[in-house]
Amino acid sequence: MAKIRVETTINGEETEFLCNGQESLLEVLRDGIGMTGTKEGCTTGDCGACSVVVDGRLVPSCLVLAAEAQGRNVETIEGVADGQKLTPIQQQFLEHGALQCGICTPGFIVAAEKLLEKNPDPTEAEARYFLAGNLCRCTGYDKIIKAVLDAAAVMREERA
């Protein structure tokens, strides 16, 4: 079967790849392009480990067909930091110890960046509900939520 040629933008860089019709964006990112920062936890859209942003929308990349990336703007964990500079969310995750094993961390950070973009001053409940699609089995979420709320405060200060 002929492969589909897809032209897309990943983390600001124009990228092209070949894929099968049934391949997910997650599979192509990880196995095709070698960007393994996006993690697979379930392939059914239930765990959030593969969270990416497509045209500004937070999605589980396991539920997006790779061919759907045609002409779109894909943002992954590898594109979150600004060159050598971590974002406040990444920095707060480190300072709070908001990760233990770290497998859910890329998905949480991608999702939390989107949360704070939409809502710069979330309440604890708003953060918990926005991030309810990202599973963490190690931390009990306490330090993750604190890291996100503190990052929001840091970002508000930076903007002020």
Binding site: M35, T43, A81, G97, I103, P106, R137, D142
Partner: protein
Amino acid sequence: MSAAPDTSDRKFKQVGSRPIRHDGLDKVTGRARFGADFTLPGTLQGVFVRSPHAHAKILGIDTSKAEKVPGVKAVITAADFPELPMHWITQGPAGVDAGANQRVILAREKVLYHGHAFAAVAAATREIAIEAGKLIEVEWEVLQPVLSIDQALADGAPILHEGQATEGMGPPVEGDTNITNQIVFEGGDLEAGWAEADVVVEGVFETPMVHQGYIEPHACLVNAREDGTSEIWCATQGPFGVKNETATLTGSDPASVKVTPSEIGGGFGGKIPVYLEPAALLLSRKAGRPVKMTMTREEVFRGTGPTSGSKTHIKIGAKSDGTLVAAECQLDFEAGCFRGSPVGAACMTTLSPYVIPNFRVLGRDIVLNKPRVAAYRAPGAPVGAFAAESLLDELARKLGRDPIEFRLQNAVEEGDRASYGPKFGPIGFKETLEAAKAHPQYKAELGEHQGRGVAAGFWFNAGMQSSATVSVNSDGSAVVRTGNPDIGGSRASMALMCAEELGIDVTRVRPMVGDTDSVGYCDATGGSRVTYATGMAVIDATRQVIDHLRARAATMLDVELDSIEWQDGNAVAVNGSADKGSLSLEEIAKKMGATGGPVVASASVSPPAAGPGFGVHVCDLEVDPETGVTRVLRYLVVQDAGKAIHPTYVEGQFQGGAAQGIGWALNEEYIWDADGKVENAGFLDYRVPVASDLPMIDTVIVEVPNPLHPYGVRGVGETPIVPPLGAVANAMRDATGVRFHSLPMSPPRVLEALEEAD
């Protein structure tokens, strides 16, 4: 090294601080490489082919059609393994059975649960391998599945393993049986104990099979090379276990197998067993190509080891003044399809937190047609504590006592004998209860439909074998190397202990996890043992490095070795040589080449014991009587850590264990259909707690030093999952007036129970 902890007079400089973990940067940027992130040129994809039956004899397997599919490079069945007999070898409270382990990976005579793998295929793509697997023809003799403890014990029940006798102690079992093992602990005079009791409570408590629920599915890459050696990259808690087990099950020389552990995306005990690697090795050998195997989430639920479902009969008696006098319990544990449930540990832990002079505990390990269980955080202990702590709550109510006061009255302390034999050394149970009592949450007001529950629990923690190597760089920085995968921040704690001894900043120490060829043997990351045992090896190796550095300094300063003391990262001449001054670590390191060469030291430990960890949890919750939905309002974990090396990650263990326990109490369970198929093999239906299900989880770290570790460390990883089942159930009782005897207390069950109570 010194046996007694030097915490009393020691001012720690690094230990107890909260540095950013060394592997953190890679984990927040996506650079960290987990099990599924490795590949090699020419890698094939391997998949298992799994049983559509829960219990069936394999009369024949024909793989010829699958082998002919274009792109298929290898197909294996159990016949490709050297046949190992099923033979249980008891080792301490646990045991091993290589024959059973091999049959877990690929079924031989029978499939024993729905989803049991019986063949594996390696092909150019995963899709080709899956499609080819469907062409494998099996002649089955389908048997009736055994799906519950009651079914397994019923007269005329189908027998999973014919001719398997019941081992151990306890009442005799005649004929073929699904009871594989019995364990008994007893003390005092039970009849006399009951005669003394003024109040007796009893009940039957049941818990379902639940899964560890790590977010990373199992994954490995195996390269079998032409010279018979092989390389494995995989996510595991124990790379040496993978090495030895893969060699044993495939009939290879262990020396030929090298295992490089990846970062590991959670394990909680479930990544101690080996599922993929031996099959991937056989596929790689057959195909002459590297083979990668990754499980789907569904396979993780169906085909790896959850923890046991259980049924516990328990009875406890107390005098009217609150003194416990007698207890009896029978713990029946589902082992899954081969023996080896954690019922032994459950028997050891259920009554041990309390002084109960007259007791008897019987544990039974029962096989049935479900996946063979694996370890899950304090294996067995949460189940026993659920039963015991529920009844203690009832006793406190009947006696009109505060639940913490009641536990304080009966709590074990140093010198008391645990129900499984040994006397406790210094332990922090009473201190932990006192701290819970003093916490503001314990006095917070409760509203309508709200309740508070208290429960305690303990885990003995493991010691086992560990080793570490410390080397000094020419700039005076250091590297500490161990063989324990870092599952929750252990690199940081290894570096902190090394830095503490050397007297340098923790950022000057690089911790690393080595492959099995580059580090000494380490038992698995499990048993809450790494900061304790591997940490001891790190401290010992660092002290040896310091001895080397002192000797180099003595040469450089031209004084006797005895005149050099190590102080805060400097070799200082003392006594009559004080005028010779001192040398910094950097100065000594710079001259290593001229004073004897690189400075490096290794140490190994094999502590037979560890210091037990006690925890007390307080759960405040609210039940919605309309929907049966339970919301946890506040949650407190108080636990004795001995000495917290990196308090952030100690708190993280407390919080994570509590969250898993809350999930177990309120939501999680395997749901089976009548044929033995798991109906909820995915995260949508097997619902682990999500962020919006939980409140902040408050923590108090109690520090009663453990005399077995030079800094007083106790393992902290497992104890936090022991109390929550009881704490939540006791809070439910407080909120609703209903005593729940079976888990999970999910909304439909809560509604049903509330309606029955009306």
